[in-house]
Symmetry: C2
Subunit: 203 residues, 2 copies
């Protein structure tokens, strides 16, 4: 199957897809899209994804698939990154959902505002304070989830680790600290030691 | 398998699970939890779900599963609600992710503030205006997704329809109108006509 990935390299959501493809040795053509120039909101892009977001995967002969977690689940189906056991699969979905609802909208947004758009705390005001507080709440849940574990699900590296790692390991770019989360820090080291690991902005 | 569902009946996220279980004839014991009294933030509840939220499924002999989409995916695996074809499965995941990131945080939050907590527009100010605008953006994407379709994926009723239906069909409780979304209105009628359908607050 021939894949084209529309992506913005600093994106953690895109990174989830790139890391999954790299781990599974799945080749793809990369088309970089500059979200800062609103290149995902053009009529041409909206034809591909009406939600106007990257990552977007084009699958030759099939069409377009959007949403990072849908893309990585599609790529990883049947591989060692997605357990076959129904209960373990469900735990992977649980962590993906948690990432998307509690961690990403806070930790990733803070990084985007502060680290990428270079907005100041004074400009952002209460919106920043609230996102930071909720981001730390999400990190605390992740810290609890890692209790007694090397990886989040099934004692091995899965999509859950890829998803949660994507924005957690760059939380500092938004000014957030992992000092109070020793299990997260140790787990970040383990994830980065996986075979075929690559840094976030590698295409 | 013996299931216990911890839930709050007005919750659309809980409704996704109840509707899936009803459709698949899966019995469960219901434990109602009053989120307005912060009953999901007690030490006892946080032991079950460190993220402090309903719906929460307890599976006898297994443990606890949180996150509505993880729970419905677990319950529906192998059933007609979850396609076996990898591409169609991926499209279901795409719509679940979209619901969770773009529709729920806006349409459901507006309904919670206005319809359940009974806060006024004056109290809520800009936060309400922003959530309403983003909610309508999400509804526009859903309207586009329904173009030429009876249901969202695979020409039949799947988890994608259950998930998107949950908060969309009660958008008016938050003061949001579906007048500009004729495909959504027709699809709501089709979903409500499915066998074993039940209203949102039915346990």
């Amino acid at each position: 199957m021939q894949y084209t990935l529309y992506d913005y390299l600093p994106s953690g959501n895109g990174y989830k897809v790139r890391l999954t493809a790299k781990y599974l040795n799945i080749p793809y053509r990369l088309v970089e899209v500059d979200i800062l120039k609103r290149a995902t909101r053009t009529p041409e892009f909206l034809e591909k994804n009406p939600n106007g977001r990257i990552p977007l995967l084009e699958i030759e002969g099939r069409g377009f698939l959007w949403e990072s977690h849908a893309i990585i689940s599609f790529l990883a189906e049947g591989s060692e990154l997605m357990p076959a056991d129904p209960w373990q699969r469900a735990r992977v979905w649980q962590w993906l959902s948690f990432e998307q609802y509690n961690l990403e909208p806070n930790v990733a947004t803070v990084r985007f505002w502060v680290g990428i758009q270079r907005k100041t705390a004074a400009e952002l005001g209460d919106r920043l304070t609230e996102k930071v507080a909720r981001g730390y709440e999400a990190l605390a849940v992740l810290e609890t989830g890692l209790q007694g574990k090397e990886f989040l699900v099934a004692d091995r590296f899965t999509l859950a680790d890829i998803s949660l790692y994507a924005y957690t390991h760059v939380a500092a770019e938004g000014g957030m600290s992992l000092d109070d989360y020793p299990r997260i820090r140790a787990w970040i080291t383990r994830v980065a030691a996986q075979p075929r690991h690559a840094p976030i902005t590698a295409g």
